[in-house]
Amino acid sequence: MRVLIIGAGPAAAAVALAVSKSPDVEIQVLDVGGRLEDENDAARLRMSKSEPSRWATRDEQIISQTAVASEHHRLPEKRIFGSDFPFRDFGQLDGVRVDGGLNSHVVSGAYGGFSNTWGAQTMVFSDATFNDWPFTRSELEEDYRAILNAIPYSAEEDDLAEYFPLWGPADALPPLSENPERILTSYDRNRVKVRRQGVLMGKARLAMRGAKCVSCGLCMTGCPYSLVYSASQTFDDLVRSGRVDYVGGHLALSVGEEDGRPFVSARSQSTSRVETFHADKVFVACGALGTTRLVAQSLGMWSRRIHMSESAQFLMPFLSLRGMRKLTQDGSFTLNQFNIVLPFDEAGHDLVQIHGYPYNEAMDDALPTLLKNPALKAVGVALLKRLTVGLGYLPSWWSPGFDVTFERPASEGELAPMTLTPSATGEAESRRRLRAVVRRLVKAAPYLGVMPVLPQVALSAPTKSYHFGASFPHSRTPKEGLESDVLGRVHPWRDVHLVDASVFPSVPATTFTLSIMANAHRIARTVMEETRG
C-alpha cells in the first residue's frame, strides 16, 4: 500500500507518525520544502555544538535577528534563525490577494511549515470543546497521547489541569523569568481571590525539551539546540530511518480520484513541469488555507465565498509593580511562560486564553517613539523591566473570522487566485467579549501584582492569529462540497483525506497545533485500521 502526504507541517507529521507504524505501507511526502538559508543554517549548526559562552558573535548576530514590524499589524512578524523562510513565498503564495489589511503570509511553504516559528504551546482542547464536534475528546485521547509521546513536552500539573489534562510524560519547564515567576507566586498566594474574578492560571505547556534548556534566551528567534519542536524534526527522523520518501520542491495544484484511485498533480519548482503522483490514500496537510485552495481548485469552487473560522488574537501588555533586576533575555527561556484562562461557562466550552511572554529584545522596538529618545531612555528601560506581554485568543464563535474566494486559474500549471476579505459581521461581538475579559483582569490584576496597560489592549486583524480553519468542517452527515466526514473526506472523494485545521468544526481559544496533530493522527490511524480490516 502506498500513502501520499501533501505538506510537511504538523498535521503531515502526525499522519506520518501514525502511518509509519504500519511496516508494509510506503509513505511519500510531497512538499514545497522551503529551507533556511545555508549561511544561517551553518551558523545555527556551529552554535548547536558549543556552549553559549563560546558562540561566535557573528553567528549570534545572524541567528538572533528579532521580529520585523509588518504593515497594518500591531504585532511584528517573527524571524527564525535570522530568516523569514516560514513566511516567504516559495510559490505557495502565488495569487494570494488580501483586502482590509489582512495578513497575506497565510500559507507556509517551509519544510516543517509554520511550526518552524510557532509558540510551541501544547495543551489539549477542553472536553466541552467537543460538544460542537461529531466525536468526543475521549475518542481523541489515544491520539493526543501518541503525539505527546512523540514530541518534546514540558508541562507541570497545576490549576490548568482542571480543564486540560497533561496526558503524557513531561519535563519540568526551565526556570521562569523574574516577572512571570513573581506573577505565578502572587497567584499561588491569592488564588481564591483571583479565581473569584473568573480567572485561573498555570505554567505554560510547551513542545520543548525543558530538561536540556540552557536558558540562552533565544527561543523566540530560534533555539540553536533544536530543543523546541518543529515538524521538520519528525520528518528528519523518518527520512533518516528510511521510513519516508520526501519529495521537496513540488507545489500541489490539484488532487482527485480517477478510476477509484487518488492522484495529486504538482508542479516541480525546478522544471516547472506538472507531474502526477498516484497512491492508495492521499492525506492533504497544506495548512487550513493551502488545503482549502487545493480542494476549491480541484473541485472547481469558483467564486463561492467560503468562511474561515478564526480564533481572534488580542494583545494585552501587563506592567508589574516590581521590575526585573536587569533588562536582559539571557538566563531564561523566552517562550510563553504562563497561561491565563478565563472560563465563561461552567462546562469549559467558552474559554478565553492568554499566554504570558517575558521580556525579549523584540519588545525594545515596540516602545513608543518618544521613549526611544536618549533623554527618556531610562523611562523606557524601567517600563520594559516591568513588561509582560499577554497574547490572548477568543474562541472562533466570538471572532469575526474571514472569507475566502477563488477564481479559475489562467492555466493548468498555476494555483487558483485566492482573495481573503474580512467578514462583514462579528467584530462587535469580539470587542464586547474582549471588554468582558478586560473587566475580569482589571479586578484580578492587583492580586497578581500587575496592571493591564489598557490603552495598548488591541484586537489583531483577522488572519493574524494563524489559528483558523473550519472551511470543510467534520460532520456525521456532511453536506456536499461544504463539509467533510469524520475522516476528512469531501464528496465525492473516498481516499483523499483532509487532515489539518480545515476540517475542524470550530476553533477554540486554547492552543491549536497539538489538537491539529492529534486529529490528523486519529484520521490516519483510523484509515489504516479500516484498510487492514
Partner: protein
C-alpha cells in the same frame, strides 16, 4: 441497579452529618463499608476504618479492595484560604489520583450547591475546582441541596439554631434548594450501586427553590407561637462578619456561609441524569411529608 453485593464502599468524611448518615444507610442495605478517618480508632473498630488525612501524602494502598469511593471529607476548620485550598482542593486531587491508581472503579465527590459557575464563595470556588478534577477523571459529582431531616446537621442545624431566636433574621430574595435527608440517602445508594452512572454533575435537591424566610419559619419551634421575622440587609452583616473573622472573634455563622445563603445557586444541575436514574426529591417540609 445491580451491583449491590461484592462491593466495598469507601466513605471519607464519615464524621460529618452526611457521611455518618450515609455510612449507616449503606450498612442498612447490607453493603460493606470502610470509613476513612483522620486519626486511627481503637483496634476493635479498625477493620471498618482506615486512616486518611487530606493534608498528608496519599498512599494508594489505603484504597485496596474499595470499588466505590464517596469523598465527602472537607476540613472546615481551616479559615486561611491558601491553607484551606492546599488541604481541601489539592488534598482531594491527590486522593482522586490515588484512588483511581489503586483501581477504585467509581468516585463520587460530595460537592455542594454553593459550587456553581460564578460563585463568589470561597467554599464554592474550592468545591468547584475539585469538581473539575473529578469530571476530568470521568467520575461523578453530586451537589446536595440544603439537607434537612429529623436530626439535621451542617447548615440546616445552624439555621435551626438561628430559628430559635425571638426574632428570626431573614434576607430578602434569598432562597435555597432543599433536600430531605432520606432522599439524599436514597439517591446516594442508587448512585453507588447502579451499573451505569455518567460522569456528570448531579444536583440532589427539590426544584423550585424554597424562599429563605419560609425555611426559617418552618424551622422555628412550634411551641412559641407564630414566628417573628425581620428582614435585614445582608451587605452590612457580611462586612461585620468579615471584620469579626479578621479579629478572630468566634462566630456562629461564617461570612462565607452567609454569602452562600444570599447568593444561592441559580438552578439544580443534572436534572436529566437524576431523572434517568429515577431520583426524586420531595418539596420542603420539616416533617418530611
Amino acid at each position: 441497579m445491580a451491583k449491590a453485593h461484592g462491593q466495598l464502599i469507601g466513605v471519607t468524611g464519615s464524621n460529618g452529618y452526611l457521611g455518618r448518615s450515609l455510612v449507616a444507610a449503606l450498612r442498612k442495605e447490607n453493603l460493606d463499608v470502610v470509613e476513612y478517618r483522620r486519626v486511627a480508632l481503637d483496634a476493635d473498630a479498625s477493620e471498618k476504618t482506615r486512616v486518611l488525612d487530606l493534608g498528608a501524602p496519599m498512599d494508594p494502598s489505603v484504597f485496596e479492595g474499595v470499588t466505590c469511593l464517596v469523598h465527602g471529607a472537607w476540613d472546615l476548620r481551616e479559615t486561611d484560604p491558601r491553607r484551606a485550598w492546599e488541604r481541601n482542593v489539592e488534598g482531594s486531587k491527590r486522593l482522586l489520583d490515588a484512588a483511581l491508581d489503586a483501581g477504585v472503579q467509581r468516585v463520587i465527590f460530595l460537592s455542594s450547591m454553593s459550587a456553581y459557575f460564578g460563585t463568589k464563595q470561597d467554599y464554592g470556588l474550592m468545591k468547584l475546582a475539585v469538581e473539575r478534577a473529578v469530571l476530568e477523571a470521568n467520575q461523578v459529582v453530586v451537589r446536595p441541596g440544603l439537607v434537612y431531616g429529623a436530626e439535621s446537621g451542617g447548615m440546616a442545624a445552624t439555621l435551626s439554631k438561628l430559628a430559635r431566636l425571638p426574632v428570626i433574621p431573614v434576607f430578602r430574595g434569598a432562597h435555597q434548594f432543599t433536600l430531605h435527608v432520606d432522599d439524599f440517602l436514597g439517591a446516594m445508594v442508587t448512585l453507588i450501586v447502579s451499573d451505569d452512572v455518567p460522569s456528570a454533575v448531579v444536583g440532589l435537591a427539590h426544584e423550585p427553590p424554597t424562599p429563605f424566610n419560609e425555611i426559617m419559619v418552618a424551622l422555628a419551634p412550634n411551641e412559641r407561637g407564630p414566628a417573628k421575622t425581620v428582614s435585614i440587609p445582608w451587605h452590612p452583616l457580611l462586612t461585620t462578619l468579615r471584620v469579626a473573622e479578621r479579629l478572630n472573634v468566634p462566630l456562629p455563622v461564617r461570612s462565607d456561609s452567609l454569602l452562600g445563603l444570599v447568593r444561592p445557586a441559580p438552578n439544580v444541575p443534572g436534572r436529566d441524569v437524576a431523572s434517568e436514574l429515577g431520583l426524586s426529591f420531595r418539596p420542603f417540609s420539616v416533617t418530611g411529608e
